[in-house]
Amino acid sequence: MRLRIGAFQFAHVLVIWLWHFCALLAPGVAFAQGRPSHDEAQNRLQNETEGQSANEPEEKSQPQERTLKITPGALPPVVYPKTALRVGVLDAVLSGVGATMAVAASVAGPKSDGPHGSGTPFDEAIRDALLPNTFDMQLLFRDTSDALLGAAISYVFIGDALIHATWLRKSPDVGIQMALIDAEVTLLTLGLSQLTAHAVGRERPYGRECGAELDEDSAHCTWNDRYLSFFSTHTSLSFSMAAVTCAHHHALGLSGRRPWIPCVVGFTAAAVTAFSRIMADQHYMTDVMTGAAVGTLVGFAVPAVHYGIGRLRPRGAHSSNSVVVLPTFGGVTVRGVW
C-alpha cells in the first residue's frame, strides 16, 4: 500500500476547489454584509414613494448587528432591463443549430486524414517548454482542466442564474433569462468547436506516443477523440463562460460597483484551463488560442445582442424581433433587429 497522492497534488486540487467554492459564495457573502436586503430595499422604495427622502437619517440610528445571513432576499432584487431583448424564437433556433452541429459532427466522426504527427514550430516550442516530465502529472492537469470546466459551467448556471439571481435576489425572471442566454452561449460554442474539430481532424499532441509510451489498444489511441485537437472545446467553453458571466454582471449590476471581480476570476480560471490542456498534452498552443478567441467572441456577442442592441432602442419600447428583406442592386439585403 502506498501513498498515491502527494502533498503538492492534494494542495493543487484543494486550492482549485476552494477557489471555485469561494467564487460561488462570493456574491452572497460579499453583498449580504452592509447592503440593504431584499425586504429593506422594498421598504426603502415604498418610503420614497410615500414622500420620505431616502437620505434622511433613519430613526433607528443604533449600530445594526452584523450577522451573516444567506437566505432568499438577502440581496436587493434586480430587474431585467425593459430595453434589453428577451430570449425568443431566434435564440431557440440558434441554440438548436449549435446543438445540431455538435451532434451531427459527433455522429459523422472526425476527418481521418487531418494533420498528424506534430504541430507548428511555435506549438512544438510551447509544448517542449510546458509539458510535464511524467504521465502522472499530465493526468493531473487533465483532471484539473476537467474540474475547472465543470466548475465554470456549474457556476454560470447554478451559482449565478439559480442561486444568485433567482434565490438570493428573489428575481426569478432575471435568473431564467440569464440561464437561457447561458444555454445559447454554451450550445453555440460547443457546436462551433465540435464542427471545426471534426472537420479539421488534427491529431492531439499525445497521438505520437501511441504504440510507444501509450498502448495502441488503449482508449486514448483507439477512440476518435484522438483527432479532435483543433480547436480546444475545454478552452472555448471556459472562455465563453467567463465572458458571459462578465457581460451579465456588467449589464445587470449583479456585482454592484465591482463588476470586474467575476471577469477577472472567470478569465483567470479559463486561462488556467487552457494551459492545463497543453500541460495534459491534449492540445497545442494554437488550439487553445483559437478556442479562447472563439469562446470569448461568442460569450460576449450573445449577451451583447440582448443587452447592448436593446439599450440603443427607445426606453420603454417593447422588445420584438423584426426582419426586413429589401431588393437591392445585385441581390437582396436582409436587415434584422433583435
Partner: protein, 285 residues
C-alpha cells in the same frame, strides 16, 4: 439474576429509544436541524416544510441529480411520506457515454435509518475486464483487451443518522458483491470508483454535518474506507461534502474526497472531486 439482566437490557433499549425519540425534530435528512429554515423560497417549499409533513400515502416520486456532464435520475414508488419516511422500490437507469444499465431494489427510509438493497446491471462501452495485476493506472483502465465488461452487482447500503443538535453524525456502509467477473480478472466499479473483483467489496463512510450559522449550507467533513476483498487492499479517501438547501425541491451539492491511500493510480476516476450537482425532488401528492 436473569430478570435483572433482562431489565437492564430493556432499560438501556428504552433509553436509546427515548433519546432518539426526543430528537425526532431532527429528521434523518437533517432538514429540520438547520438554522434559517422557514424562509420563503422562490424555488418551492422552504427546506423542511414539504416532505416531512403530510399524510402517509401511496406515491410515485423522483429525484434527479444534474451537473456537468451527467444526469442521474431515480424513480421511486412506495408508501409513506416521500423523501422522508417511506418504504418502497427504487429504479435507477444508467445511461452514460461510458456505460448503460440500471439498478432496481427495495428501500426503506426513516428518521434515523435508511436501508436499500437491489441488483445493479452494467454494460461498459469502453472498458474490458482487467487481467489480475498488483496495481493499475488510468491507461490500464482504458485498454480494451477482450470483450466489453458486462456484470451484475448485488448492491446494498445502510445509512445511520445520529442527530446531536446542532450536529448530525452520519455513518454509511455499503456491501457490494459482484457476479459475472471472469476468473483471474478484476473490474472497475463505476459506483464505488475502485478496481475490485469477485466477492465482497465493502465501502464505509462516516461524517459530521453542521449548518453554517444563518445559512442553509451544510458542511460535512467525511472519511471513507473501501475494503477490496479480492485484492486484500484498502482505498482511503478523506475530504467533505457541501450541500446548499435552496428549497425542499432544490438542493446544490458538491463533494471533495480525493484518494489518499490506494493500490492504484487512477486520478479522478478513483476520487470524488468537484462535481457540482443540482438535485431536484418531486412526488405525487
Amino acid at each position: 439474576m436473569q430478570h435483572l439482566r433482562l431489565r437492564i437490557v430493556l432499560a438501556q433499549a428504552l433509553l436509546v429509544f427515548a433519546l432518539l425519540g426526543g430528537s425526532q425534530r431532527a429528521s434523518a435528512q437533517g432538514l429540520e436541524t438547520m438554522p434559517g429554515a422557514g424562509f420563503q423560497s422562490p424555488l418551492g417549499s422552504p427546506p423542511g416544510a414539504r416532505w416531512s409533513t403530510g399524510r402517509d400515502r401511496w406515491f410515485l416520486a423522483g429525484r434527479i441529480d444534474a451537473g456537468f456532464l451527467f444526469l442521474r435520475p431515480r424513480v421511486s414508488a412506495g408508501y409513506g411520506r416521500p423523501h422522508f419516511d417511506w418504504i418502497g422500490l427504487d429504479f435507477v437507469p444508467t445511461v452514460a457515454f461510458s456505460a448503460a444499465g440500471g439498478y432496481a431494489g427495495g428501500r426503506m427510509e426513516g428518521r434515523f435509518v435508511e436501508i436499500r438493497t437491489g441488483l445493479l446491471y452494467q454494460y461498459s462501452f469502453n472498458r474490458s475486464f482487467l487481467p489480475e495485476a498488483p496495481s493499475y493506472d488510468l491507461v490500464d483502465l482504458d485498454v480494451l483487451d477482450g470483450p466489453r465488461a458486462s456484470y451484475f452487482l448485488w448492491d446494498s447500503e445502510l445509512d445511520l443518522y445520529f442527530p446531536i443538535e446542532p450536529l448530525r453524525i452520519r455513518y454509511q456502509i455499503q456491501p457490494v458483491v459482484a457476479d459475472g467477473i471472469p476468473e483471474d480478472h478484476y473490474l472497475y466499479f463505476d459506483n464505488l470508483r475502485v478496481i475490485s473483483g469477485r466477492g465482497l467489496t465493502l465501502r464505509q463512510r462516516a461524517g459530521i454535518e453542521f449548518f453554517w450559522p444563518g445559512t442553509t449550507i451544510g458542511i460535512a467533513p467525511e472519511v471513507e474506507l473501501v475494503w477490496l476483498d479480492a485484492r486484500s487492499a484498502v482505498v482511503f479517501r478523506a475530504g467533505g461534502t457541501v450541500r446548499w438547501l435552496l428549497s425542499d425541491e432544490f438542493e446544490v451539492r458538491t463533494s471533495f474526497l480525493p484518494v489518499f491511500v490506494s493500490p492504484d493510480q487512477l486520478g479522478r476516476a478513483s476520487s470524488d472531486v468537484l462535481e457540482f450537482a443540482l438535485r431536484w425532488r418531486w412526488a405525487t401528492e
